[in-house]
C-alpha cells in the first residue's frame, strides 16, 4: 500500500494514530496498567487499537471487567470469547463480591448499579496495584467528560478534581503517579459516537448482537423504553413490569451496553453497521440522553460520580 504523502491524514486515520500513540505512552510510562474492557463498542474499538499498537507482541496490560451482575449474558459471552481470541488475560471483579464484603450496600436490590462500580474498581486497583486504567470514555458523551484530560490524575481515593487538573500540553502526556494514586487514560477522548461506528465499519469489528436491531419485549416507564424480564446469569429475572405496565414487542437496538436496569434501547431497524452509521448521522438525541437513565437525575450527576472515583 502506498500512502499519499504530504496529504493530511483522514480524520479516522488521525484519530487512530492519536489513540495508538496514547496507548503506547501508557505502556511506556506506567509500570502496571490495565485496560478496562466491558464487551461494549467503545472498548472493542480500543482492543483493535491495542492490536495495532502492540502486535506482534502481547498487550503490555491485562484486561479488567467490573461486572455489575446486571449484564446481558450475550455481552458477557462475547467479552470472554474476544479475550480468548486475543489470547490476553481477562480479570473479572464483580459488584456481588463487594456486596458480600459489605463495601457496597444497596438501598434496594433492583437499583441501578453503575454508580457502585467505582467501589469495585477501586478495590481491584488496590488488589493488583494498578497505576493506570485505560478506558473507552469519550468527551462527546457528557459535559463533564468534555472537560477531562486524556491522562487524568486520580488521588488515593480515586477522586477527580476538575478544578485542578494537570495542564496537558501538546502530546506530552504526564502519566506519573505516586503509589496509591492512579491515572485514567482515555485514548478515544476525541472520538464521537459517529467516529466509533465508522471505525467499527472500516475495521469490520464484530459486536454483541444487541447492538443491532432485534425484536424484544419491552415496557414503558417514565417515558423511557425498558427491556422486560431479562434473565441474568444467576437465574434471576430482572426488569419485571409492575402493575399496569404493558409488555410490547418492539424492534430495538442498544446504542450503549450498561447496567440492564438503567440502559434503554432505542427503536430502530438498523440491523447492520452501515445502517447504524446512517442512523447515527440523522439521530436527534444524544447517546446518553437516549439510553442512560442514571445520568438524567441531575444536571451534574456525571461530574459528581467522577469526583467519587467513577470512570
Amino acid at each position: 500500500m502506498l500512502n499519499n504523502t504530504h496529504k493530511p491524514l483522514s480524520h479516522l486515520d488521525w484519530l487512530e494514530a492519536e489513540a495508538i500513540h496514547i496507548l503506547r505512552e501508557v505502556a511506556g510510562q506506567c509500570s502496571n496498567p490495565v485496560l478496562l474492557f466491558s464487551g461494549g463498542k467503545d472498548s472493542l474499538c480500543i482492543l483493535r487499537l491495542a492490536e495495532k499498537a502492540f502486535r506482534p507482541g502481547r498487550f503490555p496490560f491485562p484486561l479488567l471487567h467490573i461486572d455489575t451482575g446486571h449484564n446481558y449474558q450475550e455481552v458477557i459471552d462475547f467479552r470472554d470469547q474476544r479475550a480468548a481470541e486475543l489470547g490476553e488475560r481477562l480479570i473479572v471483579r464483580s459488584l456481588e463480591d463487594s456486596m458480600k464484603r459489605g463495601t457496597i450496600v444497596l438501598k434496594n436490590p433492583d437499583e441501578p448499579r453503575n454508580k457502585h462500580q467505582s467501589v469495585t474498581l477501586l478495590e481491584a486497583i488496590e488488589e493488583f496495584g494498578f497505576d493506570c486504567c485505560i478506558g473507552g470514555a469519550r468527551r462527546d458523551e457528557e459535559k463533564a467528560r468534555a472537560k477531562e484530560r486524556i491522562m487524568s490524575f486520580r488521588d488515593e481515593f480515586g477522586q477527580w478534581d476538575p478544578k485542578n487538573q494537570r495542564p496537558e500540553l501538546w502530546n506530552l502526556y504526564n502519566a506519573r503517579s505516586h503509589k496509591g494514586e492512579n491515572i485514567r487514560a482515555f485514548p478515544i477522548s476525541n472520538w464521537t459516537e459517529m467516529d466509533v461506528w465508522q471505525y467499527i465499519e472500516r475495521e469490520n469489528l464484530a459486536l454483541p448482537s444487541i447492538y443491532f436491531a432485534h425484536q424484544r419485549d419491552v415496557f414503558m416507564r417514565g417515558g423511557a423504553i425498558f427491556p422486560a424480564n431479562v434473565p441474568l446469569a444467576n437465574g434471576e429475572v430482572i426488569n419485571q413490569p409492575k402493575n399496569g405496565e404493558e409488555i410490547i414487542n418492539m424492534q430495538v437496538r442498544f446504542r450503549t451496553v450498561g447496567d440492564i436496569t438503567c440502559t434503554a434501547p432505542v427503536i430502530s431497524d438498523a440491523d447492520s453497521v452501515s445502517k447504524i452509521v446512517v442512523e447515527t448521522a440523522t439521530t436527534t438525541i444524544t447517546e446518553r440522553g437516549a439510553t442512560r437513565l442514571d445520568d438524567q437525575t441531575s444536571d451534574a450527576s456525571m461530574e459528581q460520580r467522577k469526583k467519587e472515583g467513577y470512570f
Binding site: 500540553l169 445502517k275 452509521v277 461530574e303
Partner: protein, 432 residues
C-alpha cells in the same frame, strides 16, 4: 451496502480534521460562539437542548444560554464563567472539527495554554463595546508564542453597538497595530470578522444586519483553513515510544522481531532510507514499516507506526530515529521560553524533570534571562517565576536531549517541566 452509505463513507474517509480554539477576554462570548456554531450546524441534539434550556429557565434567563453547552462543570455554571478547557466536536461532512473552549480569566491562563498547544487555528474574540483589552493582548501573545498559524479576530457583540461598521473598523485597526508590535502579523495571516454570537450573525448564516461586511462567514473561514501538518519541509523525527520484542515466541519469524514503535512527529520515511538512532548515533536502514498488520512502503507525519531496522541496534524508549541526512546533535543544555503553570513558584535551587518527546531528564535552572510583561511586552530582569509568568530560561540537563528549535519543529522543540515531588506538570517550554 446501500448507495447512501457509500457516499457517506467516501466523504468521511477523505475528511480532514481541524483543531481550533476560542480565546480572548472574560465574557467576550467564547463559549456562546461555540454553542452557536454547534447549534447552527445542527450538532446539538434535542435532549441536550432541552437540558440547557431548562437550566437557563431555572436561572431566570429569557433565551437559551448557549454557553452552557461547553461550561459543563458545576462551578462554571454557578459562576457563569469557564474554568477549564472544554472539548467539543462537530462535522460538516467535509471536515471534522475539534474545538477547545478556553477560559478567559487571567487566573486560568494555564488552561488557555493547554488548549493552544494543540490548536491549528485560534479565534480571538473581542467585545465590540470594549475593544482590545489586556487579556486580548495576553492571549494573542500566547497564541503567537505557541505558534498557532491561523488567527481569526472576531469582533463580537456587534448587536450591542448597532452593528456599526465604524466601531468594527476602529477595533480592527487597533488590533493590527498591536499585532505588528509583537511581530504577530508578519509571520501569519490574520483575518477579521464582525459577529454576534448571541444572534448568530456571520457564524454559519450571514443574516442581514451587516450588509457592509462581504467577506467570508466564520464557518467559511474554518472550512477553507489549511489543515495542520502538511509542512513538507519538516525533517523526519521519530521518538521511540516502545520496543516490541516478542522473543518468547516459538514462531521462528517472530523470534528475532524487534520493532520500534512510535508516532512520526514530523517528516516522512520510506523503506530503504538511511537512518541514525540518537543519542548514540548508530546507523542503519529502514527494513520495514508496519501499521497493524499492514506493510507500508512509506509513512508520513502523525502516523503511528512500527519501524524495523536492517541491523540489530540497541535502542530503547526515549531514543530518536532520524534520517542520517538530517541528524541532530544531542545537547545537555537548552534555552527556552517557559510558561509557568503552577501555583508553587519556580525555585532555581531545585531539580526538575523535563519531559521532551518520549525522553525524560533531570534538569536544573541555569540562568533566568528575563521575564516578559505580557501587557507591555517589556523584558524585565527576574530571579523567580510565578504562575502564568513567561520567561527566558536556560536549563542544564542530566541526560542529552535531541532538540530542534520550536519555530522549526513544534514536536521536538517543546517540553514540559514536571515537579518530582507532586508529579504535577508545572511548566511548558519552547526551545529557542
Amino acid at each position: 451496502m446501500s448507495s447512501t452509505n457509500t457516499t457517506l463513507n467516501a466523504n468521511n474517509h477523505n475528511d480532514s480534521l481541524l483543531r481550533f480554539m476560542t480565546c480572548g477576554s472574560v465574557d467576550d462570548g467564547k463559549s456562546t460562539l461555540i454553542g452557536r456554531l454547534l447549534f447552527d450546524t445542527k450538532t446539538i441534539l434535542a435532549d441536550t437542548l432541552t437540558q440547557i434550556s431548562n437550566t437557563s429557565k431555572k436561572r431566570g434567563m429569557e433565551a437559551v444560554d448557549l454557553s452552557l453547552l461547553t461550561d459543563g462543570l458545576q462551578a462554571e455554571r454557578e459562576q457563569g464563567i469557564t474554568i477549564d478547557v472544554a472539548y467539543r466536536y462537530f462535522s460538516t461532512g467535509t471536515r471534522k472539527y475539534i474545538i477547545a473552549d478556553a477560559p478567559g480569566h487571567e487566573q486560568y491562563t494555564r488552561n488557555m495554554v493547554t488548549a493552544a498547544s494543540t490548536a491549528n487555528l485560534a479565534i480571538i474574540l473581542i467585545d465590540a463595546r470594549r475593544g482590545v483589552l489586556t487579556q486580548t493582548r495576553r492571549h494573542s501573545y500566547l497564541a503567537h508564542l505557541v505558534g498557532i498559524q491561523h488567527i481569526v479576530v472576531a469582533v463580537n457583540k456587534m448587536d450591542l453597538v448597532n452593528y456599526d461598521q465604524a466601531v468594527y473598523d476602529k477595533i480592527c485597526a487597533d488590533y493590527l497595530a498591536f499585532a505588528k508590535e509583537i511581530g504577530f502579523a508578519q509571520s501569519r495571516e490574520i483575518r477579521f470578522i464582525p459577529m454576534s454570537a448571541l444572534n448568530g450573525d456571520m457564524l454559519v448564516d450571514r443574516l442581514d444586519n451587516m450588509p457592509w461586511y462581504t467577506n467570508e462567514t466564520l464557518l467559511e473561514i474554518l472550512e477553507s483553513a489549511p489543515a495542520a501538518h502538511i509542512d513538507a519541509d519538516e525533517e523526519f523525527r521519530f521518538p521511540v515510544q516502545f520496543v516490541c520484542r516478542p522473543h518468547a515466541s516459538a514462531d521462528a519469524d517472530l523470534h528475532d522481531f524487534r520493532g520500534f514503535m512510535g508516532r512520526i512527529e514530523s517528516g516522512n520515511i520510506a523503506v530503504g532510507d538511511a537512518v541514525t538512532v540518537l543519542p548514540n548515533g548508530y546507523q542503519s536502514t529502514i527494513k520495514a514499516i508496519q501499521l497493524g498488520d499492514v506493510q507500508l512502503q512509506e509513512a508520513q507525519t502523525e502516523q503511528s507506526v512500527t519501524l524495523l531496522l536492517a541491523d540489530e541496534i540497541d535502542t530503547s524508549r526515549g531514543d530518536m530515529i532520524v534520517k542520517s541526512s538530517s541528524a541532530i546533535q544531542p545537547v545537555k543544555q537548552i534555552e527556552a521560553t517557559v510558561c509557568w503553570l503552577s501555583e508553587t513558584p519556580l525555585s532555581p535551587a531545585r531539580t526538575y524533570i523535563i519531559r521532551h518527546t518520549t525522553r525524560e531528564s533531570k534538569a536544573k535552572v541555569g540562568t533566568i534571562s528575563y521575564k516578559v510583561d505580557v501587557n507591555t511586552l517589556e523584558q524585565q530582569p527576574t530571579s523567580d517565576l510565578k504562575m502564568n509568568d513567561i520567561a527566558r530560561i536556560q536549563f542544564k540537563l542530566a541526560q542529552p536531549l535531541m532538540v530542534d528549535s520550536y519555530n522549526n519543529n513544534r514536536a521536538t522543540g517543546a517540553f514540559i517541566v514536571i515537579d518530582e515531588s507532586t508529579n504535577n506538570t508545572v511548566g511548558a517550554g519552547m526551545i529557542v
